[in-house]
């Protein structure tokens, strides 16, 4: 029997004119199913059908039928499906209720009214299953992103669900954190569990997957995982001009918070027309280095110098920028402020956002939001471009568009610094890779750029 069966399911969000899912017919087999497809195509909406968040939490109009682990999703509220279907969300910081690990795992068990003794057994079992026994008693805010996502998976497994759904659980994690989460998911499958996971990093998962579902434009198609081919790595845009003069520098720069140093005596510089990629673990200091360069953070020691001209800065959280009614308005605002002229349409086309130009940026999917934020900071002729995890949540097509845009800015003489976990982005763009960790920066060997 299939874990889930969707038949002619059509769903429209409240206030939307077009359905987010159209006539979906799908059968999920046992084991691991991977969901893939372009940003904004309907992956997150599909996943939310499996535990009833769509339609019970989000409202809207739904037709057709959906049965998950033998229960009618449309007739059963999410809170009652929680015993059967676990869910792990994308953002590791916005899904914890309590601030101690054991208590966090117990939250769902308390909600379904389990006796105390059974709760203790299940907490032990789930911590052991995900391999996070060592986190017991830790304060949640001290955990890394990878540890937090594994905690979310532990909390879901403690409910002993028949199906676990994970919505891009690694999109905000460094390589190590992502590997931690994916290893835990694969271990779950190896023990006979069932999971549905949406991911952009398919290579590791597809080999183990029993099903692969492609979602795009609200349509859903099942394909054989064996038929999946890894997309070609992005090519490296040729450089048109030689490097210019030094555009920015850090000399003995130290920075930190609450008396502890995140960067300690860093010496680093970059030239006009050069792309410097920062790599390293979450919390290693990449964002702090970008904020120093952007001028948002003052060094506690040393100096920071930048050549005159506009700095374009994409923060780690793109929603920090977005507040205008439409995506086009966001770009227009930057163009007006910088007085550099030009029309918003140029960059909107370049980033593939023309079709959503008149939509509210906060109504977009996470990958589209990321592109909208890039469009908001990158129009005109910035002299220094600082990008913090620019490909977060992006599909392959959007990443290719970003590579072309950054290469154009580079060729116009902008000095570019990007912090990224994306090895293919580094390989396509970086002139130098600098590893940032434990307060220090280390220039990576040239071969590491393509690793």
């Amino acid at each position: 029997m299939a874990v889930a069966t969707l038949s002619r399911l059509t769903y429209t969000y409240p206030g939307a004119t077009q359905p987010a899912l159209r006539e979906v017919c799908l059968e999920l087999e046992d084991g691991l199913t991977v969901v893939a497809g372009p940003s904004g195509g309907g992956k997150s909406t599909l996943l939310r059908v499996f535990n009833g968040l769509v339609p019970h939490f989000h409202g809207g109009r739904i037709s057709g039928s959906a049965s998950v682990v033998g229960r009618d999703v449309i007739a059963t509220p999410t809170r009652h499906l929680a015993r059967s279907v676990g869910f792990v969300f994308q953002d590791p910081e916005l899904q914890t209720v309590y601030n101690v690990v054991d208590r966090e795992v117990a939250f769902g068990l308390e909600n379904i009214g389990l006796p105390q003794r059974e709760m203790a057994e299940r907490i032990d079992e789930a911590l052991d299953a995900v391999g996070v026994e060592h986190l017991r008693g830790r304060t949640v805010r001290t955990l890394s992103g990878g540890e937090r996502q594994r905690l979310a998976l532990t909390s879901a497994l403690a409910m002993r669900p028949r199906l676990v759904v994970l919505d891009e659980p690694t999109s905000q994690l460094d390589e190590e954190g992502a590997a931690m989460v994916l290893t835990s998911v694969l271990a779950l499958i190896a023990r006979g569990g069932h999971a549905v996971i949406s991911e952009h990093r398919l290579d590791r998962l597809v080999k183990q997957a029993h099903g692969l579902v492609m979602v795009g434009g609200g349509r859903v198609e099942s394909i054989d995982p064996k038929a999946w081919r890894r997309p070609q790595a992005p090519s490296r845009p040729p450089r048109r001009f030689a490097l210019g003069a030094e555009a920015w520098s850090l000399r003995g720069a130290s920075a930190g918070f609450d008396g502890s140093l995140v960067l300690d005596g860093v010496d680093l510089a970059g030239c006009a027309g050069e792309v410097v990629a920062l790599s390293g673990p979450n919390g290693g200091g990449k964002t702090t280095l970008l904020r120093l360069l952007a001028g948002g953070l003052a060094p506690v020691a040393g100096t920071v110098e930048r050549r005159p001209g506009r700095i374009a800065y994409l923060p780690q959280n793109p929603t920090a920028l977005l507040h205008r009614p439409t995506v086009r308005d966001e770009v227009s605002l930057t163009l007006e402020r910088t007085e550099e002229g030009g029309l918003p349409e140029a960059i909107l086309d370049e980033l593939g956002l023309a079709s959503v130009a008149l939509r509210n940026p906060r109504d977009l999917s996470s990958g589209e939001r990321q592109r909208a934020a890039l469009a908001a900071v990158l129009p005109g002729m910035p002299r220094v471009v600082l990008l913090d995890e620019p490909t977060r949540g992006m599909d392959v097509g959007a990443r290719d568009a970003l590579i072309s845009l950054v290469a154009r800015l580079r060729d116009q003489g902008a000095a570019i610094v990007l912090a990224t976990h994306d090895v293919e982005l580094r390989a396509a763009l970086a002139d130098r890779v600098v590893h940032v960790g434990q307060g220090k920066v280390v220039e990576a060997a040239p071969e590491a750029m393509r690793a």
Binding site: R79, Y98, N111, G296
Partner: protein, 275 residues
């Protein structure tokens, strides 16, 4: 540590500072609260709270000094023609304001263990079963508070680099709107996560029902004794009242109400383990 025991201690501190006008006992409660917190949390972690308390207390002192032109010991005068500020500035008004500042500071420090010493789940565990769902929702929203502060910093930085500058109240909408929207989105995501984990599906149970340990009973006992002794002192006139006007006098003191205040140092024995 049981939040109910902490609540008993906090309530006793607040009862004493609000029930007496005598600044000597208010100061004794303030000192006891400060020493207890320093023992439990450490002065370094208390820095933010202490700065806030000092500012609020200073405001209370200044407000009375500027607005109450009563008393006989005039320190200086501002002509009556000066609106709002005109009139004599007296030592009595300053002393009375200082007593108000003491009250506010002691009350805040008495309540501070709930945010500095206890985890949100410990507070929630102490709530009666009927309030457990409300408690879980409050715990969740408390966890969002740090992200709102972080969001404010991020938004301000990002908008500055897009050319935003603070030019009057309207310009702040470019900061406030994204911060509010981000917070609302965060709350919705958290609510979604709670729903997906069965929140609201029926009566809740607790993984660790709050049980009182001997150390909690010690704290409750000391608090009850302090409360009883101070109430008796009030009723029998041992804890004499004090009033700054019309002429400043020193507050009178008695050993019995002072002992009641000293009993509030009991947490020093109990809270050391939390450092």
């Amino acid at each position: 540590m049981n939040a109910r025991a902490v609540a008993a201690w906090s309530a006793t501190c607040i009862f004493i500072v609000l029930s007496t006008t005598n600044p000597a006992y208010k100061a004794a409660v303030l000192a006891a609260a400060l020493i207890a917190l320093a023992a439990g949390v450490g002065l370094r972690r208390l820095r933010g709270v202490l700065i806030g308390v000092l500012l609020i207390a200073a405001f209370a002192v200044a407000l009375n000094f500027v607005s109450a032109h009563l008393g006989t010991t005039v320190l200086f005068s501002i002509p009556n023609q000066v609106p709002a500020l005109g009139g004599p500035y007296t030592l009595e008004a300053l002393a009375f304001g200082a007593t108000g500042g003491l009250t506010v500071a002691a009350a805040i420090l008495a309540a501070a263990p709930f945010s500095t010493l206890l985890a949100s789940h410990e507070v929630m565990d102490a709530l009666p079963a009927a309030l457990s769902r409300t408690g879980a929702a409050i715990a969740a929203s408390l966890n969002l508070v740090p992200s709102v502060a972080a969001s404010f910093v991020q938004v301000t930085e990002a908008q500055r680099l897009r050319g935003w500058r603070p030019r009057g109240p309207r310009s702040w909408s470019e900061i406030v709107v994204p911060v509010v929207l981000t917070s609302v989105e965060g709350s919705i995501q958290l609510a979604e996560s709670m729903e997906a984990r069965g929140f609201g599906s029926g009566p809740r149970t607790a993984v660790k029902p709050a049980k009182l340990q001997p150390s909690d009973w010690l704290l409750i006992g000391a608090s009850a004794a302090a409360l009883g002794l101070f109430a008796i002192s009030q009723a029998s006139g041992w804890a004499a009242p004090w009033y700054a006007y019309p002429t400043l006098t020193l507050p009178s003191m008695d050993a019995r109400p002072l002992i009641a205040c000293l009993l509030l140092l009991a947490p020093v024995l109990v809270w050391r383990s939390r450092r």
